[in-house]
């Protein structure tokens, strides 16, 4: 860890760093703090050229900003070695190699060092990792990694798991729609009119067991980007899960526990964390979580023909 006097403090950019940018620089920050479930993640950029991205993230994630100090700080020293397309390809098959407190990716797109006693991770990686305009959203991946790492430090095991899903709040309860890319999560969010419910997020959500009763699960929004990102912090009891399947008609069937368990597991963002060495322990966490959720709430397969009317009518029959 190199000596960084700025560590742990919120800095404003030094005025006059660029004469023509004075007006902007005065209000720009090099660090923002985001609340993700019970974790506060600070995102910091070393280079002034990246601060505008932070400003944009700040606007997008307005409902999740906090002034509290982060449980974990990610500091990015940006590089520009990959085109956006190259970065997408590189990260798709990416693996991390750890050595003491240093890690690097097989793709060469990310490297870093960490001091987990101080909750600090310094990443030397592509600037597009934090670019909210990227089609393939690496920022969600980065925040998931920060979240799970902070959970490991703070709680040992994550109190909430992040899952690929579209959440709709309906009659005070959350319905979760899950499936791989192109399964229809965003279409469901788009088809959700005011009378049908409120979109929580169409991409990623936090799912957690109630501290009072482990049989009760809740869904919570987080600062995750999608076509319908969460504008505000929302939490609601989880009522049911729908596994999406495109079809010529719309209908539902209850799926058996084994199928539900396996399919839910595939939608959980792997709770991998910086410094993790035991892959089986991570898989076991996902397995236990998927088992508990599918035991607690009904899971249906929703065959869906992309028609809003039949969708809400079918879901209404379950109410």
């Amino acid at each position: 860890m190199s000596g960084n006097n700025a560590y742990g403090r919120l800095l404003t950019a030094p005025v006059g760093i660029q004469e023509d940018a004075k007006q902007v620089v005065l209000t720009m920050k090099n660090e923002i703090h985001l609340r993700i479930g019970g974790i506060i993640c600070s995102l910091r950029c070393r280079d002034a050229g990246d601060w505008k991205k932070l400003e944009k993230i700040e606007r997008l994630y307005h409902g999740f900003l906090t002034q509290e100090t982060g449980d974990i700080t990610i500091e990015l020293a940006g590089t520009d070695n990959f085109s956006p397309e190259e970065l997408n390809t590189a990260l798709a098959g990416n693996k991390f190699i750890h050595e003491e407190n240093i890690f690097q990716s097989t793709s060469q797109a990310i490297a870093g060092q960490y001091d987990l006693n101080r909750g600090f991770i310094r990443i030397t990686g592509e600037r597009n990792l934090i670019n909210p305009d990227m089609e393939c959203n690496h920022l969600n991946m980065l925040l998931s990694l920060a979240y799970y790492t902070a959970c490991k430090l703070k709680y040992d095991r994550p109190p909430a798991m992040i899952a690929h899903s579209c959440g709709i709040m309906r009659s005070g309860q959350a319905l979760l729609f899950m499936g791989p890319s192109e399964a229809g999560k965003t279409t469901i969010a788009r088809l959700c009119g005011k009378k049908d419910g409120e979109v929580i997020n169409d991409e990623m959500l936090l799912i957690s067991a109630s501290p009072q009763d482990e049989k009760d699960f809740s869904v919570e929004s987080g600062p995750f980007l999608g076509k319908f990102p969460s504008k505000r912090s929302l939490k609601a009891p989880l009522r049911s899960i729908f596994l999406l399947k495109k079809g010529s008609k719309t209908g539902i069937r209850r799926v058996d526990r084994s199928e539900a368990y396996l399919k839910l597991m595939r939608q959980i963002i792997t709770p991998a964390y910086i410094g993790q060495k035991d892959k089986r322990a991570v898989l076991s966490l996902m397995s236990q979580f998927s088992d508990e959720v599918t035991r607690a709430v009904p899971v249906y397969e929703l065959e869906f023909n992309l028609d809003g009317k039949s969708l809400w009518r079918t879901l209404g029959e379950l109410d």
């Binding site: 084994s258 368990y261 396996l262």
Partner: protein, 90 residues
């Protein structure tokens, strides 16, 4: 090739009982196997202490099945589990 050696569950897997089934996932997170009630019972007997004969005897005790049938079922299931790489001989 099935022998009378004892079998043990592979180390590179995690497994969980879900209802009557046993769901097994290899630690690459990709390959999954769902075992029905009988296969799950045989799977749980692969504890490094039993061979096919002992497993077949346990099947006879638990289910209404002849020794020949139990041995054939145990042999077939173990062959499948071995091929899938989720049990191994010791």
């Amino acid at each position: 090739m099935i022998t009378d050696n004892r079998m043990v569950q592979a180390e590179n897997i995690i497994w969980r009982r879900i209802g009557d089934d046993v769901v097994i996932i290899k630690d690459d997170g990709l390959a999954t196997h769902v075992l029905n009630k009988t296969a799950a019972y045989i799977w749980e007997l692969c504890d490094g202490k039993r061979g096919i004969d002992e497993i077949a005897a346990s099947l006879c005790e638990r289910y209404d099945v002849s020794p020949e049938e139990a041995r054939a079922d145990a042999r077939e299931t173990i062959e499948n589990l071995t091929k899938a790489g989720i049990i191994k001989y010791i």
